[in-house]
C-alpha cells in the first residue's frame, strides 16, 4: 500500500515535470479561461462579479482536462504509455497518478486566476472554506472526467479535438454565460446532466452566496462524478493493455 501511494506520487510528479509547460496545456488550460475572464471583465465591468463563479469553473474545467488530455495524447502517440504496465503499480494507481497531476494543475491555475481576478475586482468572498472545497472537489471530478475522455479516443492525436467537442458545448449549458433557469426545458436536461453545472453552483455559493441547486447535492454529484470516472478510467487502462 505504501509503495502504491509512493508510485502514484512519483507518476504525478513526473507528469508535472513533463507536461505542465506544454503548449497545449498552457493554451487550453491557462490562456483560454484567462482570455474569457479578461473579455467579460472589460465588456461588462458592472455585471462581471456575477459571472465569476462560472468563469472560475471554466478555469478548473479547462485546466484539469487539458492537462490530462495532453499527457495521455503524447504518451499514447509515442507508445510510452505502455511503460506504466511494467511498473509495480495497479491500474487504479496509474489512473490516480494521472488524475493527481491534472488535479494539482487545476488547483494551481484556478487559484492563480482567482487571486489575480479578485485583486482587481475587489469583491469579498462569502465563504473561503467552501471555495477551497469547491476547487478541490471540482479539480478531482474534472480531472477524472478528462482522463476518461482522453483514454476512450482511439486515435491519441484526436484527444484534444474530441475533448473540445464535449467541453465547448458544456460551457453553454452549464450556467456559465446564461443562468440555468433561463434555458429551454431540453437544454435544462443537459444542464443537469453536466457536472460543470454543479461546480458553477458551488462556486457561486462560495463567492456570491447564491445557488440554484442545493450545496450538498452539488458536493455529492461532483464526488460521484470523480469516483465514477476514476473507476471507468481504471477499467479503460486495463483494456488498453491488450
Amino acid at each position: 500500500m505504501k509503495s502504491e501511494i509512493r508510485n502514484i506520487l512519483h507518476l504525478a510528479l513526473k507528469d508535472v515535470r513533463a507536461y505542465y509547460f506544454k503548449p497545449a496545456t498552457i493554451s487550453w488550460g491557462i490562456l483560454f479561461p484567462l482570455v474569457f475572464v479578461l473579455i467579460f471583465s472589460l465588456k461588462n465591468p458592472a455585471g462581471f462579479p456575477s459571472m465569476l463563479g462560472g468563469l472560475f469553473t471554466m478555469a478548473i474545467f479547462f485546466g484539469t482536462t487539458s492537462m490530462t488530455a495532453t499527457s495521455i495524447m503524447l504518451e499514447r502517440k509515442t507508445g510510452v504509455f505502455n511503460v506504466y504496465y511494467t511498473f509495480p503499480i495497479s491500474y487504479c494507481g496509474i489512473v490516480l497518478g494521472k488524475i493527481l497531476a491534472g488535479f494539482l494543475f487545476g488547483i494551481f491555475t484556478t487559484l492563480s486566476i482567482c487571486a489575480i481576478t479578485l485583486f482587481f475586482v475587489k469583491i469579498r468572498i462569502f465563504n473561503a472554506g467552501l471555495l477551497i472545497l469547491w476547487v478541490i472537489l471540482s479539480s478531482f471530478a474534472f480531472s477524472s472526467f478528462g482522463l476518461f475522455l482522453s483514454l476512450i479516443v482511439k486515435e491519441a492525436y484526436d484527444a484534444m479535438t474530441y475533448m473540445n467537442l464535449i467541453r465547448l458545448p458544456l460551457i453553454f449549458v452549464s450556467g456559465i454565460f446564461l443562468p440555468v433557469s433561463s434555458l429551454t426545458p431540453t437544454l435544462k436536461i443537459f444542464a443537469y446532466l453536466s457536472p460543470m453545472t454543479y461546480s458553477v453552483n458551488l462556486a457561486e455559493a462560495s463567492i456570491l452566496n447564491r445557488h440554484f441547486i442545493g450545496v450538498s447535492i452539488s458536493f455529492i454529484v461532483l464526488a460521484t462524478v470523480g469516483v465514477l470516472f476514476t473507476a471507468l478510467a481504471a477499467v479503460r487502462v486495463e483494456k488498453l493493455r491488450d
Partner: protein, 310 residues
C-alpha cells in the same frame, strides 16, 4: 541443476477469432542467455508480453520465480526488466529524469539511484547526455538508454525485444559486451532479434516460434544437429549480384549484400560457373570461402519444414 525461473505451459493468446500464440511451452533457467527467434508476426512479442504480464493469457499457465504470474504480478514486475519494441521513455524528460523516474517506480531512490545512473551512463560513455532531453538523443543513444532504464532496478531477468534495432555495428558491439557482462553476473537474458549472428553469438539456449507455435526449443549447439550440415560456398563480389542473372548459372543459391551463397555446390564445377558469372556480370570476385550451417540457414530450414508440414 539450475532453477527454472520461467515456466510457460500450454500458453495461448487469442485476439477475437485469431490465435496469435498457440499452446506455447517454454522453460528458462536462471543464468540462461535465451534467444527467441521467429519470422515477423510469428508471436514473439505477444509471447514476451504474456511472460511478463503485459497482456492477459487466454489459456495456459505461466509461473515466474515459482509464483503464478497473474496472482503475483507486482512481485514479479519488481524482479524483471523489459525493453520493448516501442520506446519506454518519456521524450520530454531528460535522460537523468527518465532514469530517476523509473528507479523511483521500482523503489530505488536517493543516492543509490544517482549512483546507478552515473555508473550505467559511464559504461556507455553517455555522461555528457545526462541532462539532454530524451527527445534529442540519436536513435542509437535512445536504444541504449532504453536498455539501461530497464536495468535500473537490477532485475534478475531482462527481456529484450529487438534491442539493437537501429544501432550501428560499433554500438551493437558495446551492447553485446554489456549484455554478456550482465549475464556473467547471473542476470538471465531473454533476447529476440532479427540479427541471427547476434543470437548465435550471445545465446546459449534458443526457441524458434512460427505461426504462434514453438517449433524448436533447446541448446544452441543442438539445433545444428537437426539438419545435416550443408556445404556452403560464400562468394564475395565487388558489387551486389543480381538475382535473375544468378539464376542462369546457379540453382541453390542465396544473395545477401555483395555475397552469393551456393548451397551443396561441387566446388570444382561451381568455380567454373562463378568465373563465367563474374565475366558476364563484370563483378569482380573478392574472395571465396566454404562455410558450414549458419543459424540463419537453419532458421530458414526450420520454418520451411514447419510450413511444409502444415
Amino acid at each position: 541443476m539450475r532453477e527454472t525461473i520461467i515456466r510457460a505451459e500450454n500458453v495461448t493468446k487469442n485476439y477475437g477469432g485469431l490465435t496469435a500464440v498457440d499452446g506455447v511451452d517454454i522453460s528458462i533457467h536462471g543464468g540462461d542467455f535465451f534467444g527467441f527467434l521467429g519470422p515477423n508476426g510469428a508471436g514473439k512479442t505477444t509471447t514476451i508480453k504474456m511472460l511478463t504480464g503485459l497482456t492477459n493469457i487466454s489459456s495456459g499457465q505461466v509461473t515466474v520465480f515459482g509464483k503464478q504470474l497473474n496472482k503475483n504480478l507486482n512481485y514479479i514486475k519488481k524482479r524483471i526488466g523489459i525493453t520493448g519494441e516501442s520506446t519506454n521513455l518519456f521524450p520530454d524528460l531528460t535522460v537523468k529524469d527518465n532514469l530517476k523516474f523509473k528507479a523511483k517506480m521500482f523503489g530505488v531512490r536517493g543516492k543509490e539511484a544517482e549512483k546507478r545512473i552515473k555508473n550505467y551512463l559511464s559504461e556507455f560513455n553517455l555522461n555528457s547526455k545526462t541532462n539532454t532531453k530524451y527527445l534529442f538523443l540519436s536513435k542509437g543513444q535512445k536504444r541504449i538508454i532504453s536498455i539501461l532504464s530497464s536495468l535500473i532496478h537490477k532485475p534478475d531477468i531482462i527481456f529484450l525485444d529487438e534491442p539493437t534495432i537501429g544501432l550501428d555495428i560499433k554500438a551493437r558491439g558495446i551492447v553485446y559486451g554489456f549484455l554478456r557482462r550482465l549475464n556473467g553476473k547471473g542476470v538471465t537474458v531473454f533476447l529476440t532479434s532479427h540479427y541471427f549472428e547476434e543470437i548465435e553469438l550471445l545465446c546459449s539456449n534458443l526457441a524458434v516460434i512460427n505461426k504462434g507455435r514453438i517449433i524448436y526449443s533447446g541448446k544452441m549447439e543442438e539445433i545444428k544437429k537437426l539438419f545435416p550440415s550443408d556445404k556452403i560456398l560464400a562468394v564475395r563480389f565487388d558489387g551486389k549480384p543480381v538475382e535473375f542473372e544468378a539464376q542462369r548459372y546457379f540453382e541453390n543459391f542465396r544473395i545477401s549484400g555483395n555475397f552469393l551463397y551456393l548451397r551443396n555446390a561441387e566446388v570444382s564445377g561451381a568455380l567454373e560457373k562463378i568465373s563465367k558469372f563474374s565475366k558476364e556480370t563484370k563483378l569482380k570476385v573478392i574472395e571465396v570461402n566454404t562455410e558450414g550451417n549458419k543459424l540463419e540457414d537453419l532458421f530458414v530450414k526450420l520454418i520451411k519444414k514447419d510450413d511444409r508440414e502444415k
